[in-house]
């Protein structure tokens, strides 16, 4: 699976930590230096007036202002609410459907053409249709996010089930396990690492989708705020929204990684 690389848990430390520095805190130090350096370069370029962009201080002031007026929080909550409802709904449907597809050939034959077809359509392309058929409320946005999360997680779950080691299934059978026990105690745990890869990619694509959906049609949310700011040439607000999107996306990804670690720590890492 080509997506495995991007979603593989990062090894603690990188080349530098492993070979030269030998500790995780040294790596964190380097990371902080890199961020500080980046902000310094940003400040330098903008203060020289090279490009017509706001500098870090201006963006910070705007951030404090938006946070103080509770606008930032309500936008973030609006976006998060859409993502979480669409995403949780998506994986809640994708996991059982993926198991069905992996376990029963008939289910696979019936469902797979649809999954493969809709996977090739970017979820955002569904928005015009969703708005026409579902109105301009929350439903079309949540539906599109649901679709984004569902399509990535269903394929990962199904892959997980069909690649369960036959020897483990046989080992359970010779110990007296019947189909239901094998499913519950072998297939589900064995496919968890695959499912978590799908969940992680699904969350990423849900987050990307919500922001884009809000740019197109919404009355709240971080994407909507940027759309509004664009009308008034309010670049600091666009920056604040972008940074908020990045930070929230990063936080959600870290949470998924932590859950993944807890659920699949039994794996033998090569």
């Amino acid at each position: 699976m080509s997506s495995t690389d991007s979603a593989a848990p990062p090894r603690p430390g990188g080349f530098l930590t492993g070979r030269l520095l030998g500790s995780g805190s040294a790596m964190l130090g380097i990371n902080i230096v890199a961020v500080v350096l980046g902000i310094a370069i940003w400040a330098a370029i903008t203060s020289l007036g090279v490009v017509g962009l706001p500098g870090p201080m201006e963006v910070l002031r705007k951030g404090v202002e938006l946070a103080g007026s509770a606008l930032l929080l309500s936008d973030a909550l609006a976006s998060l609410g859409r993502v979480l409802s669409g995403f949780l709904l998506g994986i809640a449907v994708a996991i059982p459907v993926g198991f069905l597809m992996g376990w029963y050939r008939i289910a696979r034959g019936l469902i797979e053409p649809y999954v493969q077809f809709f996977r090739t359509i970017p979820p955002l392309a569904i928005i015009p249709l969703a708005i026409v058929t579902m109105g301009i409320g929350e439903t079309p946005k949540i539906f599109v996010i649901f679709l984004a999360a569902f399509l990535t997680s269903v394929v990962a779950t199904y892959q997980g089930v069909i690649t369960v080691d036959r020897t483990l299934v046989n080992a359970a059978r010779v110990l007296g396990a019947k189909d239901m026990t094998i499913f519950r105690r072998v297939v589900i745990p064995a496919s968890t690492p695959f499912i978590m890869v799908g969940v992680r990619i699904g969350l990423g694509s849900s987050w990307a989708t919500v922001v884009a959906a809000e740019l197109i049609a919404a009355q709240s949310g971080l994407g909507f705020r940027m759309q509004q700011a664009q009308l008034y040439y309010d670049l600091p607000t666009i920056f604040v929204s972008l940074i908020a999107i990045g930070i929230l996306g990063l936080l959600m990804d870290r949470i998924i990684i932590a859950i993944d670690r807890a659920l699949t720590s039994w794996q033998e890492k090569a």
């Binding site: 080691d165 483990l168 110990l175 007296g176 039994w266």
Partner: protein, 256 residues
């Protein structure tokens, strides 16, 4: 007395993609007595694993049947424990949870389950690792855990498919001794598949030699060495003679 395991004209062919079917096992007839330790040795493609998998109920014969205690095998069952070359431990379960797996299926109460599991974990010398995950164990320890897991459900028969094949020579010799020791305390009927002639002679009361193309029974060589087997026996001229005899019939079946 009826034999414990009886192969009766067992054949199995496999369909190969785009070719005509391939006869993996041709009319195998073989009786294994209760409490006997037999090893099956032969070149790859001789059908030894196929025969074992049919006895395990993991694959069905194309014709013929396998009887266990006079009853035909129709699927896997806990009275026939299987030990796989790749250990097949559940990596998300600890050593103890792995050993308890089969007992849990029978609905045995927790305390009883634990008592039995701990007994077999001790027997294979993994007492200090009961709460360890398989990823922290060496290959030899994993296979000892798999042996404990198979024993825990109290099978009458142990079917072992090249269980020590993936281990280094030293660990392999240690596990052979440990297996025989376990077997002397917990006597079961054992059918042990191997491609290692030394191992075949050292463990068995009879060595079943198979030949390939098609997979079939070639010779049965009795090993008249008493149990317990010792290092002196392994180095004795009698052992060497048996080893040579098995070697020749494996590698030069046309002449021996």
């Amino acid at each position: 007395m009826i034999p414990k395991i009886s192969f009766q004209d067992v054949s199995r062919s496999f369909e190969l993609a785009g070719q005509k079917s391939f006869l993996a096992l041709d009319k195998l007839s073989l009786d294994i007595e209760d409490g006997e330790f037999v090893t099956v040795v032969g070149p790859s493609g001789c059908g030894k694993s196929t025969a074992m998998n049919i006895a395990a109920g993991l694959i069905t014969p194309s014709s013929g049947s396998v009887l266990v205690d006079g009853a035909e095998v129709t699927g896997p069952g806990p009275e026939r424990g299987v030990i796989f070359q790749q250990y097949a431990l559940f990596p998300w379960l600890t050593v103890r949870q792995n050993v308890e797996f089969g007992l849990q299926i029978t609905g045995m109460p927790r305390a009883k389950r634990r008592e039995i599991a701990d007994r077999f974990i001790q027997l294979v010398g993994l007492g200090d690792f009961a709460n360890s995950l398989p990823k922290t164990l060496s290959g030899g320890m994993k296979q000892r855990c798999a042996i404990a897991r198979a024993y825990a459900v109290n099978p009458k028969i142990l079917l072992m498919d090249e269980p020590f094949g993936a281990l280094d020579a030293l660990t392999r010799v240690q596990l052979q001794d440990q297996l025989l020791q376990t077997w002397s305390q917990e006597r079961r009927t054992v059918m042990f598949i191997t491609h290692d002639v030394d191992e075949a002679v050292y463990l068995a009361s009879r060595v079943i030699v198979m030949a390939s193309r098609p997979g079939r029974l070639h010779r049965i060589i009795p090993v008249d060495l008493p149990y317990p087997r010792t290092e002196e026996m392994r180095l004795s001229p009698e052992f060497a003679a048996l080893r040579n005899e098995v070697w020749r019939s494996v590698y030069h079946p046309a002449e021996h």
